[in-house]
Symmetry: D2
Subunit: 406 residues, 4 copies
């Protein structure tokens, strides 16, 4: 029960508060942070379809703690019962924000300007909100310019957490924890259905893949996905393209013959030769056009017109002429490619998977496939309930998936 | 170079000393343990087929260190240049050996009795060697009886390490390290070929499996292996049988519907119900005969006459009437079932896999499949180069394997 | 909204329904299993201290589905709004239950007999409930005898799930997920505080440990815990005792000198020698009394009068004379030793950790320390929110813990 | 035995062929690749100090296979018995090599020019060898310029593999496999000794660290290493600096209070605030000078004059002004910083660890500490026997290490 003598405030939240565990989260947070609460009103949704609505009085030992607590409640969908406009301050130098800037989550967000709630565009996490003539949108700190009008503090900000939808066919599936002790075939069938649904809905599917796709023998199956129209964009790094080219040119991956499973003579030099050959040809697309590359992931994507974005990293060999060596540019290219996708499938790459996760709004589902449960857990932890983890071999996964989608 | 003033001895080793890395191992060991060596003679095999032969003088700081060093060299195939008879002492009480008893490795071993080298029977690791009227054989400490004649010390003992055979088709494959970044399909093809070869040679194949076989959807594929005659004995524990029965009776595994991938109502009680039902029927075989069980791993094995040995453990529910609750008896039953097998395939069970590894002679190849690389490494570390590790999903592995063997 | 035409029932639940996520769980379950619900009444706890109370009408497509659904809701604390007596049937043969027996969870349970709700004794999961003259208690299937009166079906059963207590100091800590990216020192401080609290409350602490305790150098630190009175019972297997004896006798663990970190000559035989020596001495306690063992985990426990229970397994070498080879007896001895403990600490042993988890009621907190996150996750999954996982090195953990408790 | 009818060649190798397992490797390789060999001469080192010398005739089915086989033998120290000069071709365009360029390993290499063997400078793997006026040196493909004289083919190239030195104190330690079942304290003592030896020898120590250093509470212990003079350069990425600044400014890491082990209100925004604050201050060094940062890893390094190189990646937040966003520049800066280091210690960062491994010559020892054995294995696999892996918690490792070095 709030202390009468302590500073207090009243917040409101509404939606599927129970199924989405928001109600639990709200109460937990208040207690964890040393506050107290009193339920002023709670109207429970009588059926699965109805919303619930909570009005909550919150107190904390001092004003600073109360502010911090109210801030922490925003991502859980709480907003002040009394509506205020957002506070906007002008950035005084390029690439930095006023100190008290509001840092976004990846949930749908609205700001109140001149008495009206407006949607924030280009939603992503860890951005500032800039008010423009056209409205408001997320902008990374490095893209701020002196003079930009930046939303500060907590007033006039409203977040609408993704509600879990119990009626969705994949509800239980999406709620599953990460485990390697699962029947993969059932999970693949679900993912195949999600992919068909996304395509049927006219939305795009992005794949984010590491070189393990090649090492584990996934190339022919991924090629079938591309030909089937299930790959709309491929986000990766230098290594996938290098090992794909090595496989196309020498039939090895890291010098290992994938049919025999054994190293071949001189194979450890194949990936450097592959880089040199592709670069001599003028890059991946030119190598495909000139017939230097006539099979593989890159070949299929170029032929099908699927855009490929390769982000560089400090461990790259070469790199290929196509690899974007500046990571700020690479992030911008990734973000542009992800605009409006309906599904993201991450295959064995923690680095690029986290990069993509940072950019996505909370409502885009992500499937993460890796044989290492720690990677799956780490990717799932970053997002919300939007991530489905599958602990299995990527080559066999693609084999099964291509079969299901055939 | 051995110190003139230090105690020294001369040993001989012969065989594929280079390819099997015995030569390296011998030299390393001497230096690691603070000794010194001088190569008195070394005849290298000129071609891949020829044996090499080494005569080595070894010194150590004192007699105890020399003895310890010579002992450590035995498993590497070194034996004293001057041949002596083995020392035999009589056990003075049941279940324990004389303190200086020779504890075996899993390599082929000979003892010298009355001037003749004879083979030690029932080779396994961590046993004593008992001299009987018929010859000599490995015997576990707990099976020793007062009056048994036990080989002690190091004299008159000769170990013949398994040589790696470079000409064997699977040489490079067998030498592979554990990695999840491999093309599983290539490895499965090799394993399928090994299985056909073993069967063609008239030898038996033992499977050692944990309940993950059921959880990951492997049951129908394992059933095909049984029907194809590729399973000669199944070693497992209570859990596999329980979850197999649960799947046969309720179509769930740990309460999860394997087709839908989701839990079903009351499913968490299914495994206890399954135990009760099977036990009411009088055990697994009776349940199959009476039609209570009409599908699954147990059903297929019973129908095909494949012996099943279920070893109990402290985490068992139930247990089933078939589960051997005394682990000494279970080990004996395992060991009897493994007599003369030509290949062992371990599917996701560290506990039973280690148990089996303890019993096998070094010349029986072991394939170990687990999605956790640490398990594969641990099983591989215990044996010699005999173990092939494969890091992948057991359900998909069995799917592929059944396809390859169809 | 429940279909008017479908069979329906009304259930009641009360308690900390929101913080313990029971409300979410109840609604989710109904939808997942194809049912529908209508909230007839919901009184929310206005403050953190107050209980909430829910009255819920539930429908399902047919009577069987409804029964199954109502059964699944029991562990979430739902019981029929209309109270009935439990149905009791007589077991018709030893070691098996009537088919429709109620299989317990590890949560506090009551049964209604002759119009009165009585507590079920010896609460554990996966047991039957037997009605005796004195009341009702959990009994394993194998302990049932013909003539026992067994609770069947769902009527007259009430489960009180453990409520998470937000006011407990360790609330947030207990809610943490498994991660290796944590500051271990902070977690150790919490665990040390829990241990002091448990002892101050007059309750006992059970350790469940694998041989990794020895391999990772934890022996001297564990010894300090024993001497400090923080170990009331030690549950383990043969391997811990063997490697502890090996370390005490030869200063090696699996043949590795723990100071130098390198193998010593003949070391691979040390564990077999250790078994033989201890068994010759007449077992662990006799070996301590006669001075054969003069340091180590076993020595400290024997000297301090801490009971040790060693459960056998199929991978055991030896075994030691002290190892209980029958796993049914071992389970019974474990269960007796755990009677009334206030805290369980599991150190790197999945096998014994799961065994213990099966026996514990839900209200005993369990700390699980393992360097493999998969083990921690697996142990945590089995229980409820009672398990705290810590991913770290056991040797360093014990070093820190002994320091904190000094 | 080589076929008389097949093409053949004769190679020579000398050195510690047995202890370094080169002899085994050479023979294995010939057989694996379908060739045959005949030992023309083998002089074994009689003692541990003496070199061995091998002359080997090799045949293969055709000229292409023979060339490929001879090429594969180069890294094992084999060179043609008949000495030829290296073939040098002129690069015809920037950033690419002639197709038949020789791609280097990280082992010491010599090329024969005008009848003289000269050392190749700046040894690293996956580079071309460019002949300059001053001699010959490794150069990455992207640094090649039209007109550069590039070594092609295999003639006139000689590689001197690192020999394992059995007499080195840490010989056995260095040979250890990766395992989490080790006594970490013993390993830390060895590493501390190596660090003292390297510093006593006047060489530098490079640390390569990920943000887990901060999350696991390692900051105060790392600070002690910096103050003790044991850190000569720090190679990392954006995340370490961000989380270090977050910890210095807010006492949290990823929003978690490291003392309490629990999240604090608003903590998820701390890392973005930290980036903004440091960037407003003009970067890390400026933030230290102006007192904005007054503790932490960055603070200590700046104060002690330890160079910090932060390489960007696609998952970076911000990034900080100090982060090098172009990965080609970052690689060059890493390589320059690593010039002449005597020891590299990698703490929980696969990305930067692999990047560093790509640049190092084979004779620089690398210690890799990670709680995930797969990371340790992956880093160890890339190098040679130079990598020591330690599976443990980074925070506790640094705690122990700082204690040992105090």
């Amino acid at each position: 029960m709030p202390h009468a003598a302590q500073p207090s405030g009243t917040v409101v939240a509404e939606g599927h508060l129970i199924d989405s565990q928001l109600l639990t989260g709200i109460f937990d947070l208040v207690i964890e942070r040393g506050g107290a609460f009193e339920v002023l009103a709670f109207a429970i949704g009588r059926t699965n379809d109805e919303f619930s609505r909570l009005t909550l009085k919150i107190s904390a030992p001092d004003e600073a703690a109360l502010t911090s607590l109210l801030e922490a409640l925003i991502p859980l969908g709480c907003h002040a019962a009394v509506e205020e406009n957002a506070v906007v301050r002008v950035a005084d130098r390029d690439r930095t924000a006023p100190e008290e800037f509001y840092s976004t989550t990846n949930q749908r967000t609205q700001v109140r300007l001149d008495g009206r709630w407006i949607d924030v565009g280009r939603q992503r996490m860890d951005a500032a909100i800039v008010v423009t003539e056209a409205g408001a949108e997320c902008r990374k700190l490095r893209d701020l310019r002196s003079g930009d009008r930046v939303v500060c503090g907590l007033a006039g900000i409203r977040v609408m957490p993704e509600f879990r939808d119990r009626d969705r066919a994949d509800f239980a599936f999406m709620s599953n924890d990460v485990s390697s002790e699962r029947r993969v075939e059932a999970s693949v069938a679900r993912i195949a259905r999600m992919m068909r649904d996304v395509k049927a809905g006219g939305r795009r599917i992005a794949f984010v893949a590491g070189p393990v796709l090649v090492h584990t023998g996934g190339v022919p199956y991924f090629a079938r996905l591309v030909r089937g129209g299930f790959v709309d964009v491929l986000l990766s790094g230098n290594a996938l393209a290098v090992h794909d080219a090595e496989f196309a040119l020498f039939n090895t991956s890291l010098g290992v013959d994938l049919d025999a499973g054994t190293p071949v003579a001189g194979g450890h030099r194949h990936h450097m030769r592959a880089i040199n050959i592709v670069n001599r040809a003028g890059g991946v697309a030119a190598a495909v056009r000139s017939g230097v590359l006539s099979s593989g992931v890159m070949f299929e994507c170029v032929r099908a017109g699927v855009p490929i974005v390769l982000a560089g990293s400090v461990r790259d060999d070469g790199p290929l002429a196509d690899t974007i060596t500046d990571i700020v540019e690479a992030q911008d290219r990734y973000a542009a490619a992800l605009e409006g996708v309906g599904l993201v499938i991450v295959l064995s790459t923690m680095l690029h998977g986290i990069g993509v996760g940072n950019m996505l709004p909370a409502w885009v589902p992500v499937v993460c496939v890796d044989i290492n449960p720690a990677v799956v857990t780490k990717l799932a932890d970053r997002g919300s309930s939007q991530t489905i983890g599958l602990v299995t071999d990527v080559g066999l996964f693609l084999h099964q998936l291509a079969g299901q989608l055939a």
